[in-house]
């Protein structure tokens, strides 16, 4: 699931991950993502922006991690938030990986590979 308030960014990420044979769903903010997940669309991995209206990515991660039924979901932040403090916060809240925008397609592939979601 790609969670970003920018359609353009969702489009870029969608092209990268569909090229890796992922099926995708999209949400424009954290609350919309949670709504989809509660309706049964439970993804293997979420690519999560930080700064979004309604519900930001950090809050989304804490909400996902508070639900034991979603413990197997892999969470990867994809954001411009590059302060060390923010990265530590996200990882402490339950994010598995962190990618700083702008990124290259290879950076996304490398992170997904590190997470064991695509072949190394």
């Amino acid at each position: 699931m790609i969670i970003d308030d920018s359609r353009a960014m969702r489009s870029i990420l969608r092209r990268i991950v569909t090229g890796l044979d992922f099926e995708t769903s999209e949400a424009e903010h954290g609350q919309a993502a949670l709504d989809q997940m509660r309706a049964g669309v439970v993804p293997d991995v979420c690519l999560v922006d930080w700064n979004m209206p309604v519900m930001d990515g950090y809050t989304f991660i804490t909400e996902v991690r508070a639900n034991p039924e979603w413990r197997d979901i892999t969470l990867m932040m994809v954001t411009t938030e590059s302060e060390q403090r923010q990265i530590v916060r996200a990882l402490a809240a339950g994010a598995h990986e962190y990618v700083i925008k702008p990124f290259t397609p290879d950076a996304i592939v490398d992170k997904l590979s590190l997470l064991g979601l695509v072949p190394a």
Partner: protein
């Protein structure tokens, strides 16, 4: 051409941020080239502009201004639109907003924190600034002969 007036990020740092973002989004299409523009010259007309505000350990506003044609080309590229499809104004606003989000987020990382980054505000037209804001840094560039300007404004009297 780069111009630095008040305390804020250095022009070279802002230029590096712009080049990184550009390379990631449009690098295959051409390079950003510095453009000589006299201080005080308004940005070219027929532009799109976007702004994001940094608040906290450092305060400032980062804006990106783009020529109309460039904004649309950026949008087509980011959305991977088919050749026979044109970007709507809504599409352009979305793409330009994401552009300033990336530039602003990386400028934020250059300055003292912790700080927060606002959601982008996008307009068709020139960016306007409050009277209590002062120019800290301005970088004028061109991409395939289309003008681009990245500016950083800080509260008058310097960062608070």
């Amino acid at each position: 051409m780069t111009t630095a007036v008040h305390e804020g990020p250095g022009s070279e740092d802002v230029l590096a941020v712009a080049e990184d973002v550009w390379m990631a989004l449009l690098g295959e299409d051409g390079m950003l080239v510095p453009r000589a523009v006299p201080t005080g010259t308004p940005f070219d007309t027929a532009a799109w502009s976007a702004a994001t505000t940094i608040s906290g350990g450092w305060q400032g506003v980062v804006t990106v201004e783009l020529a109309e044609a460039l904004a649309r080309r950026l949008t087509v590229r980011m959305l991977a639109l088919p050749a026979d499809q044109t970007a709507t104004d809504s599409d352009v606003a979305d793409a330009v907003g994401e552009l300033v989000n990336m530039v602003g987020g990386n400028v934020k990382s250059l300055m003292p924190g912790p700080s927060t980054l606002s959601l982008p505000a996008v307009a068709a037209g020139r960016a306007a600034f409050a009277r209590d804001a002062a120019l800290a840094c301005r970088v004028d560039l061109s991409w395939l002969d289309a003008p681009v300007r990245v500016s950083v404004h800080v509260p008058l009297g310097g960062p608070r």
